[in-house]
């Protein structure tokens, strides 16, 4: 990206002052190298977001920002309903509440190494992944409605987890304000056989080793110990979320003119928060969040079943569950004034700082865990939210490495079987139904996740706690 028009505020903060139809500036959090590596189109999308009605303070781009749909991926924007603010189906995206959860095992890596192949095979057999896989749970319409209202709480009530799990999930496992009646029959149909499935693309389940601790005090409080094993799951709201996104995006794109909204890009499809379609979307999108929370809860249950067969001494408590494609109504202080705002995070993780009332008591002193997924051959990270992040980015941080190369190029550059062989030499077992899928997700197709995390840490968005390295990767 051309950084000439940007004002450098600090090593990792840059500002593009408002011009033309921009109502607010764009603020980029990234170091010079990351910023120069960003696609111009990602910057253009952040500028487009800055033109939307009711936007507050700035259109933000996280260090993993890249070209998305309407919003850049890694985009954060807050809107005020009182000022004509909007909710954007494009700003949430197709995979509503896609996110990451991390389970502790209490096992040493040396406990897992001898049974790693067996564990990989058992997980691959048990966790439905990719197109053509269906879950073992089939929901009728009444159960779907209950799931859309109850989220992970619904799953726990059916025996797929414990009360303790719910305390470690955003919204305590159930998103308030879900309105399942605004979820279409088509969206419901897409989900009937998809509960407890991983999906595909960049979704995965990984067994990981805690390779490095950066903040021993916080790590201790989170029960993260160097050399121990954790399990991370990356997936979202499956077909139901995709269908909600598809339908509301179309409706909002067509209705924008009626609402007096000039869309610089139709994919930015949005509607006033106070409009009928805006309210309907919020209700449906929140139901989509519950679907994702329930889905990750069921996948957790399946993972626990596999571990109880292969490594029965492990208990797998939940460290935390984050969502990175959402719009949530939150209280924030803006220029000394408490305001109720709708925060869009598109490929960005909520990162509330210490003391935030939304956090469960056990985490309140340290801030919200921020789980950053890497690519399959590299590393993932645990960070925690900071007090300053609350003012820097409405309590938001990055969500992953971010792609640097298209799938199109990646599949030409790498062969899946060769990648799997190379990773196996490094002790990483990959299981996938598709070799081309592995090639498209090649580690080299992603940015350096360490540079992204270092930048988020230096900028003050979140603080590094631990680095995780993969041992087993089940690719969606």
């Amino acid at each position: 990206m051309d950084i000439a028009p940007l004002q450098q505020i600090s090593e990792d903060q840059w500002r593009l002052p408002p011009t033309g139809k921009m109502r607010v500036p764009v603020v980029f959090y990234a170091d010079r190298a990351l910023l120069e590596g960003m696609d111009d189109k990602a910057g253009g999308q952040a500028v487009n977001v800055a033109t939307l009605p009711g936007i507050v303070k700035a259109s933000y781009v996280m260090p993993d920002g890249h070209w998305g749909y309407g919003f850049p991926i890694g985009g954060v924007a807050a809107f005020d309903a009182e000022e004509g603010g909007v909710v954007s189906a494009g700003g949430v995206g197709f995979d509503i509440s896609c996110g990451v959860r991390c389970l502790l095992t209490g096992l040493r890596a040396s406990d897992v190494e001898p049974v790693k192949q067996q564990l990989a095979d058992a997980l691959f057999a048990r966790i439905p992944a990719g197109l053509g896989s269906t879950g073992q749970i089939h929901l009728n319409d009444a159960e779907l409605t209950a799931m859309l209202s109850g989220g992970a709480r619904w799953a726990v009530d059916r025996g797929w987890g414990s009360q303790e799990d719910l305390d470690r999930i955003e919204e305590h496992g159930a998103m308030h304000g879900a309105e399942p009646q605004h979820v279409s029959q088509k969206a419901r149909h897409r989900q009937r056989d998809e509960m407890g499935t991983l999906g595909s693309g960049n979704h995965y389940l990984e067994v990981q080793r805690v390779a490095e601790i950066f903040d021993p005090h916080v790590a201790y409080q989170l029960s993260i110990a160097g050399g121990e094993v954790v399990v991370s799951i990356h997936c979202g709201s499956r077909g139901l979320g995709h269908q909600i996104g598809t339908e509301y995006l179309r409706e909002m794109a067509i209705a924008a003119a009626k609402h007096g909204i000039e869309l610089p890009d139709r994919e930015l499809a949005c509607a006033p928060l106070r409009s009928e379609v805006g309210r309907r979307y919020l209700g449906a999108m929140r139901a989509g969040i519950n679907c994702a929370l329930a889905n990750r809860q069921i996948l957790t249950h399946l993972t626990r079943e596999v571990f109880s067969d292969v490594l029965p001494q492990a208990k797998l408590p939940l460290l935390y569950d984050v969502s990175h494609n959402t719009c949530k109504e939150e209280e924030h202080v803006v220029d000394g004034v408490q305001r109720r705002l709708f925060i869009h995070r598109k490929g960005a993780t909520r990162a509330f700082g210490p003391g935030h009332p939304e956090l469960p008591e056990q985490l309140r002193d340290i801030g919200q865990p921020v789980l950053i997924g890497g690519s399959m051959g590299t590393e993932s990270w645990v960070l925690v939210g900071t007090a300053e992040g609350m003012t820097l980015s409405f309590g938001s941080a990055c969500h992953g490495a971010g792609r640097r190369m298209s799938r199109h190029r990646a599949k030409k550059q790498w062969r899946g079987s060769k990648l799997i062989e190379n990773l196996a030499h490094r002790g990483i077992i990959v299981r996938s139904v598709s070799m081309r899928g592995v090639a498209e997700e090649a580690p080299g197709a992603y940015k350096d996740v360490r540079a992204v995390v270092d930048s988020a840490d230096r900028a003050g968005l979140a603080r590094k706690v631990a680095r995780l390295e993969p041992m087993v990767c089940i690719k969606g």
């Binding site: 070209w67 994919e267 799938r407």
Partner: protein, 138 residues
């Protein structure tokens, strides 16, 4: 000549169909969608699904058409290898032929989530060649 191709998007993948008519361009874009998942030549075309859609403009009709196919692919767990599209004004009626997903045969790469308005264009050049394209979120 009817043809399809993929074009790059940083996070996902673009599909583009070309042909002498808008109908053919839509058919070819649909083949491009299948090719996001698997090699279309691997799909046996022995089951048929009828699809209809209607939109306020031709480009939105392309998004609707591809999204209708994604819906049929995921709810029927099918892949499609042959299409017959008929567009009358802003109404589309089509036949999609294919088979159930065979994970060994097709080795499905990814599951398309939705066709988007990103890079969305339906147009024809001076020689009457039609082109229909958009980015698909996977």
């Amino acid at each position: 000549m009817p043809s399809w191709e993929h074009f790059p998007h940083e996070a996902d993948i673009g599909v583009r169909g070309r042909g002498d008519t808008v109908d053919i361009a839509f058919e070819q874009a649909a083949l491009g969608l299948t090719a996001v998942v698997t090699d279309p030549d691997l799909v046996r075309n022995h089951e048929q699904v009828a699809i209809t859609c209607e939109a306020p403009s031709l480009d939105v009709l392309l998004v609707d058409w591809l999204n209708a196919l994604i819906y049929e692919m995921t709810t029927r767990s099918m892949l499609f290898g042959r299409f017959q599209v008929n567009i009358d004004g802003l109404r589309l009626s089509a036949k999609a032929e294919g088979q159930g997903v065979d994970r060994k045969r097709h080795e499905p790469v990814v599951e398309p989530k939705g066709a988007t308005f990103t890079e969305l264009r339906v147009s024809h050049d001076d020689e009457g060649q039609w082109m229909a394209q958009c980015v698909v979120d996977v």
